[in-house]
Symmetry: C2
Subunit: 218 residues, 2 copies
Amino acid sequence: MLADDASSPKQTKGARTARRILDAAEELFAQQGYDGTSLRQIAERVGIKEPGLYNHFAGKQALYEAVLFRALNPMAQALAQLMEDASQLRDYTDLPSVMTDILFEHPQMASLFQQGMQGDTNSTGNQLVNGWLEKLFNQGMHSMEEFGGVTATSSAGQTAQDRATLAINVIAMFNLTTGYFLAQRAFDSLAAGDLLDPDNIAKQKRLLHKVIRAMLIS
Amino acid sequence: MLADDASSPKQTKGARTARRILDAAEELFAQQGYDGTSLRQIAERVGIKEPGLYNHFAGKQALYEAVLFRALNPMAQALAQLMEDASQLRDYTDLPSVMTDILFEHPQMASLFQQGMQGDTNSTGNQLVNGWLEKLFNQGMHSMEEFGGVTATSSAGQTAQDRATLAINVIAMFNLTTGYFLAQRAFDSLAAGDLLDPDNIAKQKRLLHKVIRAMLIS
DNA sequence: CCTATAAATTATCGACCATTAATATTTTTC
DNA sequence: GAAAAATATTAATGGTCGATAATTTATAGG
């Protein structure tokens, strides 16, 4: 009643509770996974009864997909922005740093992305995350063909090798960037500090740059 | 009845079904998570009825912990072996490669380790994985103190910085090594190949070495 | 202000869950 | 081979799950 609930008065009441449902669901799905989270739990956190959720989302699966979609949106936008600006391969060096900034604002999203990547092939989460990785991968392939040498000299076998190497690098950077935020408890146990401390974020970014540089040299 | 069930005739019948339960549970827990896996499912895969599980494990939680313990054992042994042999910091360069070999034999274990690292602090899985990481971390701290310079010249603030940096590096290597095996579907989608192909494993190992080398230079 | 619509609640359903008790069967041991 | 112990089965219990229907309450638009 202070300034908590009546904030952002622009949207209608229904849209506001829908957003609050998404917020609660995002946090709980990230912390406990899909099966470990019940609609009762989400409703309780929002402050409504369980069937009230169905006025805003068709069901549990639809809610989960909505959460994933909203969470992945800033990532997709950041990649699209970078692809628009970047003209050469080197410009993609900043992507993990940008991703880290985004994940810093919503650390729990990292868990959702990992869940998506590990989900089965026909699940929405897997398709969303794989689609994002594919965009990045294809851009990398394109840059390599342009920059890396004359395509005519490359045999088909060489191309397959390049594809595999690039895929391994892309996956490694994805795991390195998202995995950092999944290790909060481990980091606290090891270094007795906070992973989200700006000093540590800066250290992680330096590491990401070092790894990218190591990747770019053959 | 062919040569499938009667294999490894040394152990008693009870011990053999217990092992088969562990095998089935490991695979299902890794693929679907703890909450996403039911005891019915495990029992069905083993070929017994659900209550039969209770003759071998006290309950679902106990079974999960037994799976984790058995899976983490080869990792712990590998680390202990390496700590025994290695005399200097450089010798730990091979650890990710050894871990990769172990995970190659049981790729689904990677998922269990990630689940453990992300679990809440008082869960058995989190304690097991954190304990393993702590051993590695402490060895790293010890090596740094021995090798990295005179301890008297290092201020307390410098030590805290070193701790944080080492923790970030250890976590990064863990994520890089285990995360590779969690990306099977993504890799297939990107490179249209098999992550477990020896060529790709070799590529991943080369990447791990490159990253370690990048870490060791300040 | 009044009405049409949106949103939230109560009550309830069938399905599946982990676990237990009682019983039957198999396996080990002497 | 018989007794003892281990292992498996059938049956049932209480609890939680996601989802639906019917109803009441709150909101928005004219």
